[in-house]
């Protein structure tokens, strides 16, 4: 069994995890980012026309918007970047995703064990909030909901090497990445008026 120190040492830097995803992302793939992933994704370079920076959001609903998009656009793979705190707010969405049979949906959970943007308070699923009891097993939950393709990565090298293959798995696909909290990581700023961004996204999707 892995000790607390070893667990910390094997966590991936959030930026490195996102860079690997950004490098692997194909041009026709939709990427939805939320909270910390949205904040860091926006720093990585020019936005892609099929990015949805889900700011402002109703926390936890990235997976649900992703489900809707995947249903409407079966020809596009939809990649949802969620946090573990966000996923805990909308765990039922995993069951809904499986029920809807969307092979083109990928849920990536950046699991840092805390509500990062509010000051790194532990989530109810993290060992730190459970008196040392093992943390919630998101991959186990996803499997139990019926996801066939479920992966967990704690090593950035392995994630970089396998990210494209994993994204290409028959979905719905669930990926948990053990990432380190970002010190001082605050809530992301909106990159612009949401209604205008929605229209731009819809136009890009139609092209």
């Amino acid at each position: 069994m892995m000790g607390a120190t070893e667990t910390v040492e094997t966590r991936i830097a959030l930026v490195a995890a996102l860079e690997a995803l950004r490098s692997a992302r194909r041009d026709d793939e939709v990427v939805i980012t939320t909270m910390g992933s949205a904040r860091e994704w926006m720093k990585l370079g020019q936005p892609h026309s099929l990015d949805i920076i889900l700011v402002p959001s109703a926390m936890g609903h990235g997976t649900s918007i992703g489900l809707g998009l995947a249903l409407a656009r079966p020809e596009n793979r939809v990649i949802v970047c969620s946090g573990d705190g966000s996923l805990l707010m909308n765990l039922g969405s995993l069951a809904s995703i499986v029920a809807a049979s969307v092979p083109n949906l990928v849920v990536v959970v950046f699991d840092n064990g805390v509500y990062e943007v509010t000051g790194q308070q532990p989530t109810a699923g993290a060992a730190g909030a459970r008196g040392g009891i093992r943390p919630a097993d998101f991959c186990g939950i996803a499997r139990a909901c019926g996801f066939d393709s479920v992966y967990r990565f704690s090593n950035v090298g392995e994630w970089r090497e396998k990210v494209r293959r994993v994204l290409d798995s028959r979905g719905p696909t669930f990926i948990a990445l053990d990432v380190a909290p970002v010190d001082g990581g605050t809530a992301p700023y909106s990159p612009g008026p949401a209604p205008a961004r929605a229209r731009q996204f819809m136009d890009a999707l139609r092209r």
Binding site: I52, P56, S57, A58, M59, H61, S64, I65, G66, L67, G68, L69, A70, L71, A72, R73, N90, G92, S93, A95, S96, A99, A100, A194, P195, A198, F201, M202, L205, R206
Partner: protein, 182 residues
């Protein structure tokens, strides 16, 4: 006319409809209407009235039922569908409306996506099952608070009201709701 005391614990009503327990519409009527209106997906958490419409909706070729676990999901799934070019409709009970406030606020007001909904109005027609049901106190004020333009539907003769309201909202690019008495 429904009359309510200001104290939510002492709701009462005086109305000839009070003891009726019939459903306003059949599933076939709703399915035909939604098909006519071009709805592509119905995202739903059922209640005992709108849940009865599911088989008829599911049997249509043009509408896909999307079953979610909680009503907040429904608004956001609808948002994704709309962004993807579909014509979604959210179908939930008023209790689910209460539950899903932040999700609908985000979709309808932050992102200004014109999602239409059908909302079951619990205890409006039948107050025998749940005497003093506070749904009667809070449903319409909550819809007003969220600035959702709705039409209250209390009889089978009002199917056209739903149709006209849906079309009006669609043409204006704004959200709307049909509040169906149960």
């Amino acid at each position: 006319m429904m009359i309510f005391d200001s104290d939510p614990n002492s709701v009462y009503a005086t109305d000839s409809l009070t003891r009726q327990t019939h459903e306003v519409f059949s599933g076939d009527q709703i399915a035909a209407l939604l098909t006519e209106l071009g709805v592509t997906h119905v995202i739903t958490v059922p209640d005992s009235t709108i849940g009865q419409w599911e088989p008829a909706i599911a049997q249509t070729r043009r509408i896909r039922l999307v079953r979610v676990c909680r009503e907040g999901e429904a608004w956001q799934v609808a948002a994704g569908l709309y962004l993807g070019g579909a014509t979604p409709l959210v179908m939930i009970q008023c209790t689910g409306l209460f539950e899903s406030g932040d999700a609908l606020r985000n979709v309808l007001h932050d992102w200004k996506l014109p999602v239409f909904s059908i909302i079951g109005y619990r205890s409006y027609l039948d107050q025998a099952k749940l005497p003093g049901d506070t749904c009667l106190v809070f449903t319409e004020p909550i819809l007003d608070a969220w600035r959702i333009d709705y039409r209250l539907i209390t009889s089978a003769s009002e199917l056209d009201v739903i149709r006209e309201h849906f079309i009006g909202c669609r043409d204006a690019g704004r959200a709307g709701a049909a509040l169906i008495a149960e």
